[in-house]
């Protein structure tokens, strides 16, 4: 049975399903109890599961992640909410130096099933530290897995996959898409955790992206089609590990690839995708793999964010440049 719902609601339903399936799953974070989180993703969960399953924590990100580690050592499966992307850095040390390394330090005798949910990205006109895309820091860190859904259906299933993982998962939620509705099929058998997917088929240029930018890519593909250009769109869904096979297959078909992301381009997830596609599809490429990213700047004040973020026009400009080779 499919149902239409927002991504925020799909995440809420996914969390509810995971908590119902396993009583060791607990949620922790700032304002996630009676308030339901600043984005209301955990709305109603504390009243349903109680304050021992949904913990309002003190305002301390390192404390949230560090105590989640200890809870996981005791057999819990904590799901932490970090309130905004730019607030993850007080927890960065616990994530990269501890959470990511503890299984290796224990030579496999300790599992670290911790999920860290991070609402991320721009498009919401917010103040500083509330619109960032910090995923590359974590994709660079061995020991972590990174997921980022682009649709309500993927959000519903991927959050459950993340909670089922025995490894730490950074779960990047495109907050500008929280209120976008889509079909969720709760009766399907779920989706492979780290599978990228072709969301629109085309033959001349491949666009690759993740999170909020996927719907921008689809808009760009639609406009390109009106001008007679056939564009394929691939949603990464998983940023670590990255499922390259569908991307490479698409590159071999179209010969032209444009990677798009909100994050600054320097040493980014998009850089890695571009390098790997070049390595694996070199003889099929008709043009260098191009990147459209946020500029290499601190995220700008909100009135300038539309200039900073990859727009449909900047994406189509890159498509034209790829076709011109």
């Amino acid at each position: 049975m499919t149902e239409t719902m927002t991504m925020a609601k799909a995440l809420n339903e996914g969390l509810r399903a995971a908590m119902g399936a396993n009583d060791r799953v607990l949620l922790m974070g700032e304002d996630i109890g009676p308030l339901g989180g600043v984005f209301r993703v955990t709305e109603g969960l504390q009243s349903e599961f109680g304050d021992k399953r949904v913990l309002d924590t003190p305002l301390a990100e390192s404390g949230i992640v560090g105590t989640a580690i200890g809870l996981a050592m005791g057999g819990f499966r904590p799901v932490c909410e970090i309130q905004f992307d730019g607030f993850i850095f007080p927890g960065f040390d616990q994530i990269t130096s501890q959470l990511a390394k503890l299984t290796a330090r224990h030579e496999g005798t300790l599992q670290m099933p911790v999920v860290i949910r991070v609402p991320y990205g721009g498009h919401i006109g917010a103040v500083e530290h509330h619109q960032e895309s910090p995923e590359a820091y974590f994709a660079h860190t061995p020991g972590l897995r990174l997921l980022s859904p682009a649709t309500p259906h993927d959000a519903y299933w991927l959050i459950q996959e993340a909670i089922a993982s025995n490894d730490p998962v950074m779960f990047f939620e495109p907050k500008s898409r929280y209120w976008q509705k889509g079909e969720v099929d709760r009766d399907s058998s779920g989706i492979a955790t780290h599978a990228s997917r072709v969301v629109r088929e085309g033959t001349e240029v491949t666009l690759v992206g993740h999170g909020a930018i996927v719907s921008t890519l689809l808009q760009a593909a639609e406009l390109a089609a009106e001008e007679g250009t056939s564009v394929e769109v691939v949603d990464l869904r998983s940023l670590s590990p990255i499922d390259y096979d569908p991307i490479v297959a698409s590159a071999q078909k179209t010969g032209r690839v444009v990677v798009v992301q909100e994050a600054p381009g320097n040493v980014s997830v998009g850089s890695e995708v571009a390098a790997t596609v070049t390595e694996r599809a070199f003889y099929s490429l008709e043009a260098p793999v191009l990147r459209v990213s946020g500029y290499d700047l601190p995220f700008p004040p909100a009135k300038l964010e539309s200039v900073y973020l990859p727009s449909v026009d900047r994406i189509l400009d890159a498509v034209d440049r790829a076709l011109a080779y």
């Binding site: 560090g66 200890g70 050592m73 005791g74 819990f76």
Partner: protein, 371 residues
Amino acid sequence: MSYTAATVQLLSPEGTLVHSDASEQYLPHVDKLSDDALQEFHRHMVVMRRFDIEAANLQRQGQLALWVPSHGQEAAQVGSALAARPQDHLFPSYREHVIALMRGVDPITILSMFRGLSHGGWDPKEHDNFHLYTLVIGSQTLHATGYAMGMGLDGRSGTGDPEKDAAVMVYFGDGSTSQGDVSEAMVFAASYQTPQVFFLQNNHWAISVPVSRQSRTPLYLRGEGFGIPSVQIDGNDVLASFAVTQANLDAARAGEGPRFIEALTYRMGAHTTSDDPSKYRDNSELEFWAQRDPITRFETYLRARGASQSFFDELATEGDDLAADIRKRILELPTPATSTLFDHVYSDPHPVMDAQRQALADFEASFEEGN
């Protein structure tokens, strides 16, 4: 920063029992101990010091990359660890070698970390819940607090059955009290009223920086500031270390919330074998603390209670035997196979690990004859 009027001491540096208002509430914990039990305290401290000397020698001889001496801190560590029960979870920093041994970790496992063969690798479940060393200063205080939160959620403390109740004890140092994680750990512990003892070994030096640079207030008052009942003890007095820790662990296990103990001790040696304390501290300070040595004073006490010379001779032999044993075994440790590099980064299957393991195997095979 040394002893204050608030410092709980049960055994004076001269090796005699102290009877004071502060000591009276803790002396009953000691009165219950048999001569055999007291001699066990001494055995752990003496054998540990011999182990520590041998490990430092092995480093000087190039067999270890680094050693972290614990000389001088034996009473703080042995007394507190003997107050813990097997069901308690102990989270060390990286200098608690004697506690590792007391909880069943093979000394070679500790040394293999400093020989560059592992990052720890023992399973706390198999070693009386003694967790791995944490090298980033203060990080383990949050893990311990999280573990204790879980104990609270699972009802593993405050059951009314003292034999079943469990608690957490976390070890950390004076330098770490400046780290944000330690403050956050106390915030969470106080907030969730965790079954937990914070055991601070104030050894007075964070490498070259004295404790006076970390704090203008006695460190046990930090605990009080977070709403955690706190006490300062003479950490070179193994009886105070044992008795005060036992009283506080009992309270934590019984569900009375977290406790904080500051044990005043002294790092007699270097921070690590890479350090040179002669560049930053006076011999007069060293002499002050040498006169308060934890082992000397306890030996005086045991002799006054009638311990025989043969007991002390046996300890010396046991220490030498352990030293010889680790010296022999450390040289026999094999370097792990390169393929194991990729084995435990993730618990679940991971395509990048599989691909890189294969790529390394192929690369190494390319050097074999016939390729």
